[in-house]
Amino acid sequence: MTTDIGLWGVPLAIIGGAIRVSTPFLFVSLGECLTERSGRINLGLEGTLVFGAMSGYATAYLTGSPWLGVLAAAICGFGFGLVHGWICALPRVNDIAVGIALMLFGMGLAFFFGKPFIQPVAPDLPTINLGAWSDIPQIQAALKINVLFIIGIVLAVTMAWMFRNTQLGLTIRVVGDSDAAARAMGLKTNRIRFLSTACGGALAGIGGAYLSLYYPGSWNEGLSSGQGLMAVALVIFARWNPLNCFWAALLFGGAGALGPALQSIGITQGYYLFYAAPYVLTLALLIATSSPSKALTGAPGALSITR
């Protein structure tokens, strides 16, 4: 059934972990990237992620189709985004406070509606076996790639292109960089932010569906261990660039696999330290890429934290 791969297990686990664990980070951070580029911060994506996981699992179980589950998660995420966008469009509302409220609300609602779906087993999303060329089962397992992962890559590239080369991208960037400039151009800032937040929410919902429908592949109340919150931080780390979001998500996924992999080859001392690897890595990279002259390179000018 298996071949002895010894120490090769560690790099393989990191690659496999990067592919398996990164997808929720990728979707949530792309969603947040879109929202923040339009000048809003939505901290509620953790709640959206959890609700997306629940609604996706429930729909997949009830209809028998995991793709309908993904769709349902996206619609629910869109709805949460709409609520956030709508409340923040009211005068003198702080988007960070609304985000935290919506995060707690989303999680509470998901736990409430999710009760009957903890036990049942819903169908999983299909995978593509990129490892079929190898006859080593471990490589085959590591290279089982979910379709959502590929969609995420395509989305990251498309989004980067959209921001740079299309009128839509320019519009979102203008709104995000300067209220005054956008108004002078006759853009409806509130409507654009409203829609960006909603689309960002939909992406976070899909990220949740990946958790419950593929990896680890079941719904329970402890499913998310803060992936939604970490992804929001990833956006800052990725300097609001969708392509960097992808690399950052991979990095987090791979670093998260380090702890279990090292224990499995017998390095058992200090596993709590290895589990902290993603955060240590982030800190190190942030320090390495920081600059004393340009604070927060690439930050949209109209964000409430930079304004």
Binding site: M1, Q119, P216, E221
Partner: protein, 375 residues
């Protein structure tokens, strides 16, 4: 804008009067409901009560005593091991008038249960997993089962099923109960083939779905072909391991429906039986022992029915060993035995039977387990 939304004094008074009325009405109703019953029992769970694991095993026990006459059960799930549990217990005591409380999670015991027990002396608190000692309040009891024996039997099934002679254990934290389970699992497997080793991975938390899945994958990547676990909800481990083609042994509750072909057997709690006895003891006016323990023989634990992948030779050894354990005084740790650092833990001729309290403070992994107790 702000002035429009400000609450007027009149509407505030009107609303608060309504709320006060509702509170008065419901509180006048509740005690009357409670008085109509013989015994009201409160159950508190740390997670969801249908998690295919620890909490589900307790909830199944609660469901069993609901069927007894004269019993009302109140339950609350997802109560953290913090001051939250104090609030939950206080509300069960004051609003539901419970007579008997089962705060089921390990971390509730000290200081929360002990604190409330000295405040409400006419109530009975029964806690799962704690170590009651005579200086604790007399209205507190601690009960637990020798589930390590179940993991030993799991190990026998695993030892026969393993082809790679490597088995894997996904564990939460290196506390005595978990270490005993890991050691028992390996020793069960070694009773089949002394060359078997067991790789353990600690996730560091009781419930971390993604990390549990990663740990399971890492174990299988290193060649383990039978997996078991000690985490709160084994669903993720069982599904991931079976999905990779490994055999699985269950824990806490019966998970065979999650992997019907790959499920060998499982060590389950039998709280239905334990709780029925405890409640009937209280109903008859007797007291439950403060320090209450039991194993297979006493019906504290049970084994899942053997799965289709279990061979006839495995079944024979499994059933023979189970019969020996049922007779009592079975010792998993028998000297001479070393831990995995080479220290002697049991001299030749020395053995620790299942009821030995020394086992409840275990701090080592036996020889053959690959892993470390230090974090």
């Amino acid at each position: 804008m702000t002035t429009k939304k400000r609450l007027s004094r009149r509407s505030f008074l009107k609303n608060s009067a309504g709320v006060a009325g509702m509170v008065a009405f419901s509180s006048s109703l509740l005690p009357r409901l409670a008085q109509a019953k013989d015994l009201t029992v409160g159950f508190i769970y740390v997670g969801a009560k249908d998690d295919y694991g620890y909490n589900q095993s307790h909830a199944e026990g609660a469901a069993a005593i609901k069927k007894l006459g004269g019993i009302t059960v109140v339950e609350e799930e997802n109560v953290p091991e913090s001051v939250e549990v104090l609030k939950t217990m206080e509300s069960m005591i004051n609003f539901d008038s419970v007579d008997l409380l089962f705060p089921t999670s390990f971390g509730y015991f000290d200081p929360f249960v002990l604190q409330l027990a000295s405040k409400y002396k006419d109530l009975r608190f029964e806690h799962c997993g704690g170590l009651w000692s005579p200086e604790h309040p007399k209205n507190v009891g601690s009960y637990f089962g020798y589930i390590g024996m179940g993991q030993y039997l799991n190990g026998i099934a695993a030892g026969h099923a393993s082809k790679s002679k490597k088995i894997g254990f996904v564990a939460a934290k290196p506390i005595p109960q978990v270490l005993l389970n890991i050691n028992s699992f390996l020793l069960g497997a070694r009773s089949v083939d002394p060359s078997i080793t067991c790789q353990v991975i600690f996730t560091g938390e009781w419930s971390l779905a993604v990390k549990e899945a990663e740990a399971t994958n890492a174990l299988i990547d290193q060649g383990a072909d039978v997996i078991t676990c000690h985490v709160d909800g084994p669903k993720v481990v069982i599904e991931t391991a079976a999905g990779r083609g490994a055999y699985v042994c269950g824990y806490h509750a019966n998970q065979s429906t999650l992997a019907p072909e790959k499920y060998l057997t499982g060590a389950e709690w039998n709280w239905a039986n334990v709780y029925t006895n405890m409640v009937q003891t209280v109903q008859a006016g007797n007291t439950i022992p403060n320090f209450h323990r039991g194993g297979l023989a006493e019906g504290f634990i049970k084994m899942s029915p053997l799965g289709p992948a279990v061979s006839d030779t495995a079944r024979k050894q499994f059933e023979e060993t189970q019969a020996k354990i049922l007779k009592g005084n079975y010792a998993v740790i028998q000297g001479p035995m070393k831990d995995n650092k080479g220290n002697l833990i049991a001299k030749a001729g020395e053995s620790f039977v299942e009821t030995d309290v020394a086992l409840e403070s275990m701090d080592y992994l036996v020889e053959g387990v690959i892993g470390s107790t230090s974090s």
